[in-house]
Amino acid sequence: MAHISAGVTTSHIPAVGAAMDLGKTQEPYWAPVFKGYEVSRQWIAANPPDVVFLVYNDHATAFSLDLIPTFAIGCADSFAPADEGWGPRPVPVVQGHPDLAWHIAQSVIQSDFDLTIVNRMDVDHGLTVPLSLLFGQTPAWPCRVIPFAVNVVQFPPPSGNRCFQLGKAIRRAVESFDENLNVQIWGTGGMSHQLQGPRAGLINKAFDQRFMDLLIDQPEVLAQMPHHEYMREAGSEGIELVMWLLMRGALDAKVNTVHRFYHVPASNTAVGHLVLENAV
């Protein structure tokens, strides 16, 4: 049977992808960011997943205002890196896992979570930057990836609790898949940042640290946080953090923290990163 062995959360800042693509990772500005991922790269080399279920948001790339799915699961064979306006990132094409993706879609929809099924989709920095952070520059990603896009661009996004409960349903779906697969679930985006208006540049370190504490030990409490608290405390784009709860819902109530990292800034944003394993 397939199982979920671990969860990863990470910011997915486009400038971080550009720093890797342009060979700037050793520059003084960027070096501390990438140093924070060294432990994780060693960990994932020792614990390679067969499939990553990657929760991210599309940034007006595959989805415009013509169609705004709240939850969209990528069921295609492969997903090309998108041209976001300056040409596609020089990273490998993402290979999907259509059998598992369709299995999850069927199972989760029948558990009352109405997903949108996507058979053709380019993937933007929200998905490719986390892969680059964990796997580095490589001619081919070392595992299959199921892209799972959450709307956080058009208000309202799904609630934290909805994401948390959906994570639980995704876990049940994975555990009912016959093939023996090691699956990781990643929740991306955040942490505090605001990209718009006179308040742009907001960073709230105390909120971010408390968010990580609660995500690890009391996710059911964190899941009750209303949208406006995220936006007020962590900036208008800090709302992306609801996606971390989706990851957390798919893990055990008790987890071990393999790695925890926090750094300000990367471009406009606070970088947060966790590697969590189910406590045995």
């Binding site: 007006a60 976001e84 306006g85 661009v153 208000f155 718009q196 208006g197």
Partner: protein
């Protein structure tokens, strides 16, 4: 019953909600068109003529021509769509963000390195700084 907006008192912040989205539909879809290289070339060659192909308001067109991102947001723009404009211009997210705060990009970048804008005094309109 009007839509509940418990976020309306956050200073210097426009949440891209139902009202903004309806106002900004054509502006944002114009931005989306800039994801294609041939469209970027046509826009750069004659911005006004390209904008006139879209059923946008004059205020929306003027805001784009002036690269006034706060004005674009006020008339319904969303920052992830507006990103297509500054990408076409070869500018970074930090450049655009700085322009909305009234700071130079250099001062803004320095503020970020020093830990970013504090939430203290920035949670609610009228709150003491």
């Amino acid at each position: 019953m009007p839509l509940d907006k418990p976020y309306a008192d956050i200073p210097g912040t426009t949440i891209f909600d139902a009202e903004q989205s309806r106002k900004g539909y054509h502006l944002n879809m114009f931005c989306m068109s800039l994801m294609k290289a041939p469209n970027r070339e046509r826009f750069k060659a004659d911005e006004r003529a390209y904008l006139d192909e879209w059923p946008m308001t004059e205020a929306q067109k003027q805001a784009v021509l002036a690269r006034d991102y706060n004005a674009m947001i006020a008339v319904g723009g969303n920052i992830y769509f507006l990103a297509k404009i500054f990408s076409t211009d070869g500018k970074s997210f930090q450049h655009a963000a700085a322009s909305m705060t009234g700071m130079s990009q250099e001062d803004y970048a320095r503020m970020m390195i020093d830990g970013g804008r504090s939430p203290e005094g920035n949670r609610r309109r009228g709150e003491p700084k």
